[in-house]
């Protein structure tokens, strides 16, 4: 039998025990470093003046910006609210077609119409969300795949927009070394905007509500959160960024057709990048996007583009999920090893 302890000792010990086990609060990110990076990105296109051919790096970077924007957008619904959509490229497609058709028919540049394209995507997101957000978990994931398939069939058979053959868009007449720069900046702006939005949401009541929804909707409702409205709003906002990115991408490609946008791999990329980086974190989409694109380039340069590429992506993903189940950002944070520059939550 243990000796009988004094009540006060026990109470004091309890306090000590509690202090020892107490969880620590999160730190904030470091802003100056981010601003430096942003400035560097903004100045990067100047390299074209050096006379070298930097078109491919520019292409890769704007491609990465595009995915940052789409993945952050996706993250608002998939990460914060916990509704994993494998059909978000539908909005990518809608954005591309709205701006693309305006460009092809009236010659209005996508740079002007991209926000409108985003708004249309948002509106469609609103309507779709109204139906599909009634179910959650596996059923929602499946419904998102079905949405993708339905959109594909509809676009393939919609003659007005050129059906499955698509339509080609007028080119911007610029000397070869400058031709990527406008798109570079446009994508950069969208990416930064999506990150800012994502940050703002993450730190707002709305974001907290979404995270509550991702955990337990009934509980969230009874806590006074209008879950239906929150979810649909999240869906619409996330569609906005994906749609805007699609608008610019369409003009950049100078050609739009359903199978550029509506293949499952595009959606998969969004999901993968987000999960790899850390779902539900602000920095996760950036980390995931950069890593995945870097891996992909690595494979292409080492082995040429081939099936090995797909195999490699798959294996990386398996390993990432097994060893970083909360994404790189999420897992590092849990272990307290997250560099401050990535801690935006």
């Amino acid at each position: 039998m243990t000796d009988r302890q004094n009540i006060d000792t026990v109470l004091a010990e309890r306090d000590a025990y509690n202090a020892a086990l107490a969880g620590t609060r999160r730190r904030g990110g470091s802003w100056p470093a981010l601003l430096v990076i942003l400035a560097a990105l903004a100045l990067f296109p100047l390299v074209q003046l050096t006379g070298g051919n930097w078109n491919y790096p520019l292409h890769l970077m704007l491609y990465a910006f595009m995915y940052v924007a789409m993945t952050s957008g996706w993250n608002i619904l998939g990460g914060f609210a916990g509704y994993i959509s494998i059909g978000h490229n539908v909005f990518f497609c809608i954005g591309g077609y709205v701006s693309g058709m305006l460009l092809a028919s009236y010659g209005i540049s996508s740079f002007l119409t991209a926000p409108l394209a985003g708004v249309v995507a948002m509106a469609v997101g609103f309507c779709v969300g109204f139906i599909t957000l009634r179910v959650r978990g596996p059923a929602f994931i499946i419904s998102s795949i079905a949405l993708l398939m339905v959109a594909r069939i509809l676009f393939d058979n919609w003659d007005f927009v050129g059906g499955s053959n698509g339509i080609s868009l007028p080119r911007m007449e610029l000397p070869v070394q400058y031709v990527k720069i406008p798109y570079y900046y446009a994508m950069l702006v969208i990416a930064v905007a999506s990150l800012v939005a994502s940050y703002a949401i993450r730190h707002s009541k709305f974001g907290l509500g979404l995270r509550a929804i991702s955990q337990d909707e009934i509980k969230a409702e009874s806590a006074g959160i209008d879950t239906r409205f929150y979810k649909i709003l999240a869906f619409a906002i996330s569609a906005f960024f994906v749609g805007t990115a699609g608008a610019i991408w369409g003009e950049y490609m100078t050609y739009i057709r359903p199978n550029i946008f509506l293949i499952i791999l595009v959606a998969a990329n969004m999901v993968l990048m987000c999960i790899l980086g850390g779902k539900g974190t602000v920095a996760g989409p950036v980390v995931g996007t950069v890593l995945l694109i870097a891996f992909n380039e690595f494979f292409v340069s080492q082995f040429g583009a081939s099936q090995i590429n797909i195999l490699g992506t798959g294996i990386i993903m398996i390993l990432a999920l097994m060893f970083f189940p909360n994404g790189i950002v999420g897992t590092l944070r849990r272990r307290g090893r997250l560099p401050r520059i990535l801690d935006w939550d």
């Binding site: 509690n18 202090a19 086990l21 107490a22 969880g23 620590t24 609060r25 999160r26 703002a200 949401i201 993450r202 730190h203 707002s204 009541k205 709305f206 974001g207 907290l208 509500g209 995270r211 509550a212 991702s214 955990q215 337990d216 009934i218 509980k219 969230a220 409702e221 009874s222 806590a223 006074g224 959160i225 209008d226 879950t227 239906r228 539900g280």
Partner: protein, 246 residues
């Protein structure tokens, strides 16, 4: 202030709630008791809008609320806890509390998630239920009883006018329970209306002003605690031998 009229709900063939009516007076503590499966939790679910009733009405402060959605009901000042605690597992305990605080208008949506006044209040509540150290812990890591305590603290965050407690004592350590009961009574004196479901009969009898007894989905008795405790039907259906000893 609050009234349930002829509420019914069935699942498949089971009439979980059957033509159930009772009223809760403003500023009172009313207990809802009854055997397992009597339909108490279902009544809570119907009142708070978590479930849609088959028929019947729910009135709060002179307005019908049975067609409202749960969050609308919460915003009218009626909050509840869950018998099987529902926690937002990935959120920290602090966030679990903050989530319950009131958000107004679209502008409010984009206000800072954790305001400093809210945080102070939340910490105060956590301190009261003795889990301050867990404030930044993810809620999934709490023990059964700790979740119950967190749930209770969170309920108070929204500063409700009426609270529905579904078995708040189950799984909570008796020492702490006393403090909590004391707190509820104090709030009640400040004007809070309480409807409580509880199997801890001693607790029920000591704090409630009125007791409503349910069995098989309907109210079988209603009245002052003493009268209820002496009621044969209640004894048979609910209390059994054990309380006869007490």
């Amino acid at each position: 202030m609050f009234e349930v009229r002829r509420l019914s709900k069935s699942f498949g063939g089971i009439h979980a709630v059957n033509d159930c009516s009772f009223a809760v007076d403003e500023g009172s503590i009313t207990a809802l008791i009854g055997p397992n499966g009597a339909g108490k939790t279902t009544v809570f679910n119907l009142i708070s809008g978590t479930l849609a009733s088959d028929s019947g009405e729910v009135w709060l402060e002179g307005k019908r609320i049975d067609s409202l959605r749960p969050h609308q009901i919460t915003r009218r000042g009626m909050s509840r806890t869950f018998q099987i605690t529902r926690t937002l597992e990935d959120l920290t305990v602090l966030e679990n509390l903050i989530v319950q605080s009131r958000v107004t208008g679209i502008g409010g949506l984009f206000r800072k998630a954790i305001g400093s006044a809210e945080e102070a209040r939340a910490m105060e509540l956590l301190d009261f239920v003795g889990i301050t150290r867990l404030a930044h812990e993810e809620a999934r890591n709490l023990s059964f009883g700790q979740k119950k305590l967190m749930d209770f603290a969170a309920l108070l965050m929204s500063e409700p006018k009426i609270i529905l407690l579904d078995e708040p004592a189950g799984g909570v350590n008796p020492t702490l329970l006393e403090a909590i009961v004391g707190h509820i009574q104090e709030l009640n004196r400040g004007g809070l209306t309480v409807l409580i479901v509880e199997h801890n009969i001693e607790l029920v009898m000591s704090i409630s002003h009125k007791v409503v007894v349910m069995a098989y989905g309907s109210v079988i008795a209603e009245g002052e605690p003493d009268a209820i405790q002496a009621d044969r039907r209640v004894l048979d259906a609910y209390l059994g031998a054990q309380s006869a000893d007490a």
